[in-house]
Each structure stands twice: as C-alpha cells, then as structure tokens.
Symmetry: C2
Subunit: 324 residues, 2 copies
C-alpha cells in the first residue's frame, strides 16, 4: 500500500503533520509513504519515507486557473505524485476547494459514478456510533439520480469500513414523506420505487447528531450548510463556556475540578477524532483532513485512508456502480 | 391594539401561557387581549381579558384536511377569531405546520407579496445583537424573485423593530461570489443588478451566529435545516455538559460554583429569549412562539407581536411591496 501525504496543507504546519505521520507509521510500519514537503525538515521521518520536495502551500483563495497552473504547491505536487506513482491514496489538510478541483481533474472519477461527493463521519450521541453525512459540498446542486448514487456509494463505504449494513435517511425540513425540497421529495419516491433497503425516511436538521441512522444523504449545498451550521454552533458553545469559566476566580476553580470530564465529553463537538472527510467516487482514495488538524486528527485522516485501501473500497464502489 | 392568544398550543401547557400573558399585560395594560383556551381555567386572567372557550389542542401530526376541518382546537379557533374580530395580531406556540396552513388560508398574504416566509431573530456572539434569519421553513423551495422579496420584507421588519438600516447576506456554501446553489448564484447577481444597498455577499453556515450581518436570507428548505442543525447542536452541547457535571461529586460541586454564569452565557444557545418566529408577508401579525416556550419565552413572543403592531409593520410591508 502506497499513500501520498501533503505535509504542508494544514493550518498548524509541519509540526502537526510530522507528528501525525510518525504516529501513523508506528502503527502501520508496512505502509509505503511518499511525503511531499520541505526536504530538509522531513529527514526526521527516517529513511523508510520517500520525500518529494515542496516548500509552498496552495493559496487558500486560489482561483480555478491558479489552481490548475500551480506546479509548486505541496498539494499540487502531491496530487500529481498520486497519479504518476500510481499510489493508492492521498491525504491533505489543504483547502477543500483547491483539493476538489485538483482531484477532479487529475485523479478523475470512477467509470459509472455520476458525481463524486464529500463524505465524513459525524459523531453522535450514541457512544461509539458515527453517522456518515454526504454530500458536504463537492457539488453546488444535485439531481435525483446523483442522490441515489450517493446512497449506493455511501452504503458500500459503510459496509467496507464498519462491516455492518447501514440504515440511511434523507435530510429534510420535516420527517413526513411529503416534506422536503422538490429534489428530496422526488428522491424519496425514487428510493421507494427502487425498493432500496434500510430506508428510514426523512430526518430533520435537529436529528443529525442523534445517531438514529448510519447514513444521511443530501445535496452538496444543503450538506455543506448543515455541517458548517453545526460546526459554528459547536465553536460558539465552546466560546461561551470559556467566557463563563474565566469570569471569576471561583469559576476558574470550578473549571479545574471538571476540566478532564468536560474535555472528554465535549470532544464530540470537535471534528478532530473523526479522521477527515473523503472525496468518494474517485479512482483513488482522496482524504481531506480538517484544515486545523492537530497530530491526532492528521493521524486519524491517514488511518481513514489506510482502512479504505485495506478494505478495497475503490474496487467495491467500482463494482457497485457498474450494476446500477 | 387587539391580540388573539392561543393559550393551549405549547408543550408546557396553560401554566406557561397564563404566566407569560399576565406578565405581558403588566407591562402593556392598554392592549386588548382575546385569550382562546379553557374558560374555567382562564378566569384568573381578570375581567379585562376576553376569553373564548377551547379545550382541545391541535394535533401535532394533523394532515392538511384535518387541519382545515378542525373547528375545535384552540389554534383553529384563535386563527378564526383573528379574522372575525379583525384583531391586529395572533400568538401561538402550537405546531408550525398547522399554524402556517391555517394562517395561509384564513389570514391570507398581503397583496404584492409573492410568498410569506418564517423569520426569526437569532442570537449572535455580539452582545445585544440579533440577526434575522429567513425563510425558516414556510416554503419547500423558492425562486430568485421570492428571495428578493424576502430581502425587502426583512429589511422593513428590521428597520421597524430595531430602527436601524440592516446589512444583509445570502446563506451559501462558500463566501465567494461564484459559490452557492443555482438559486443563490442567480439571486446574488440579481441583487447586484438591482443595486440593493448594504449587501454583504455570501456567508457560510459557520458564520450565522457571528453577528457580522443583520439579516441572512435563504430559501425555506435550507433555512429550516440550518436552524434545526444549530438547535440540535445546542441541545447536544447542553446534554454533554450535563453528563460532565453530574459524573462525580467533585463535578457537581464545580457546577454549583459556575452555575449562574454558565446559565447566563449559555442562554444564547436557547431560543427562549428571542420572542418567537414571525410569519411575514401576511395581512396580520402572525407570531409563532417556540413549542417549548416557558412563561418568559411566551411573554417575549407577545412582545414581538406588540412591537410589530405598534410600529405598523403590516402597513410598511404593504407599501414596500407595492413599489416592487
């Protein structure tokens, strides 16, 4: 197994990616790694890791043409290396837009896939249970057939990684069958018509984190807004807590007493343990670590890539879509 | 000023609505109230309040036909009373779907309004600043012209209630001009074409609570999912906090120390101080209090209705849309 790693993409820089990669390699010494980043600083990774030199980061606000002509950034070099070396997977914490653009153009989608989608596990109130949410923003709009294809791909993903038959739902503005945008209403009817098993119906935005289903499917516009609305609220909750706990000496004392359990419980509102999002439907495993990934988050993103390769996800999706 | 109040709609029953209404009346003894609820239990409101008897609550899962034929529920009687008595406003904490259906059919929309929308103030990280978010789910889909009309109506609402010129934005899956669903992209261009002032561009789901803008406009499907995703995350945050603070004696002690400031800060994640949502674009002020409104929340919903009537919101919107 060969994984290409963009060492420069994340907000926290080399420190997070080097530590994350080292930790991943301790667990999986058999994996061949091509690390793309500043050669002089990556020698600490040891002789088993192949280093390709790159000293620039992809601009966060790069336009499509800049992204396409970029040959210097670690992300562009990493994506090109993935293709040239015929590696199995790529992991980057760089900007989603540029990453999706590069992956779409260089890696290409699997034959039979209508549109790739960005998929990520979301933590839920049920312990040790994660729900897959897609599309998180690879597309600005989607058709009924594309949503059906998202259902099929995500079911294969769930089976491959969690080894269980998933229950899925559509995200809607009401749980009843007749609720939803025209797209969701039509998709609901198409699912019934196709008799796709384990369909739980519609669920609302307030139910995403409850863990009642294993997969939640929506279009890329809606999914992006739902995910970011949740992330934003989680961040606000943390900010409010901080304000409360730092307000007085008494409150600071209270924080010391409850700190450990609080951090432990509230880690659910953090995206770090989740192993990043995946661009599903491509010819290679393309994993997007969160921009602010620390070492643990980056290691988990590498782990996601590893699991998907090990479980032959690409082959399974390729076979799955060819039956459609 | 005459306000019709559905006393039975909320989850917390008469106790919350009676206390909320009494508290509202202490502040505004001049307002004429028609309270719809069980006559024998509402006599405590005093002789100044007109009571219309109703002992049934609108079924939460009522179908459209059941809603239309319902003549017994407090909500149906309240909506009919609003029209028959030519009152200025109605407040109910009953189910949104039934309420919207009844209001649409009996109260009707203002001439020139394309579609009514559900609008609510959202708390933000900026102290004492609220952002209006619409449409929260009155519609399953919207056109460009409808979104433009939402902008116009919400600007009038903001000016009438907060006495300031609002800055508005579109909710999108990226802040750049070229991001968004086709609807959002087209609306963006239409806003530029019409040169609507104080347009801040697109904002993302993670920015809703930041308070950088005064109005956020989106279609009813997306707005409903964004609002509920935020509500759901807020509820999860509270559940996780509770789990942390009740885990041990030490943690319970910490809670006692920080309790007051914590409740105070986290009240932002509660919808109760906000005064409910409004069905904007109708011929009357139609206010929807949150289903789980306590006395304070219900009083605030009554206050919203009062402010809108006092500031002649209906006339202003009516004049505003006739210029479109």
């Amino acid at each position: 197994m060969k994984i290409v790693v963009d060492m420069l993409g994340g907000d926290l820089g080399l420190d997070a990616t080097v530590k994350g990669l080292s930790s991943f390699l301790s667990a999986h010494p058999d994996v061949e790694i091509i690390a793309v980043g500043p050669q002089n600083e990556l020698s600490i990774l040891g002789s088993k890791v192949t280093v390709i030199n790159a000293t620039q980061t992809m601009k966060m606000d790069a336009h499509a043409m800049e992204i396409l002509h970029d040959k210097e950034s670690s992300m562009a070099i990493a994506v090109n290396t993935l293709v040239k070396e015929n590696a199995d997977a790529i992991v980057s914490a760089g900007g989603t837009g540029a990453y999706l653009t590069l992956a779409s153009l260089r890696v290409k989608k699997l034959d039979g896939v209508l549109r790739p989608a960005l998929i990520s596990p979301i933590p839920t109130l049920k312990e040790n249970h994660k729900t897959l949410l897609l599309d998180l923003g690879a597309n600005n709009e989607n058709s009924v057939d594309e949503l059906i294809s998202f259902i099929n791909m995500s079911k294969i993903y769930y089976q491959s990684v969690y080894f269980q038959e998933p229950i899925f739902a559509l995200l809607s503005n009401g749980s009843e069958e007749n609720k939803g945008s025209p797209l969701i209403q039509e998709t609901y009817q198409k699912i019934k018509e196709l008799k796709i098993p384990n369909f739980k119906g519609n669920i609302e935005g307030s139910d995403i984190l409850k863990g009642d289903v294993d997969i939640i499917v929506t279009d890329g516009f809606t999914g992006n807004i739902a995910l970011k609305a949740m992330e934003g609220t989680g961040a606000v909750a943390k900010e409010l807590l901080k304000a409360a706990f730092t307000k007085s000496f008494k409150n600071k004392l209270a924080y010391l007493l409850v700190k450990k359990d609080l951090k432990n419980k509230l880690s659910m509102l953090s995206s770090k343990p989740l192993g990043g999002a995946m661009f599903i439907g491509m010819k290679k495993i393309v994993v997007k670590a969160h921009g602010n990934s620390d070492a643990v988050a980056f290691k988990n993103a590498l782990e996601t890539a590893y699991q998907c390769v090990k479980n032959n996800l690409i082959d399974k999706i390729s076979q799955g879509v060819s039956h459609e």
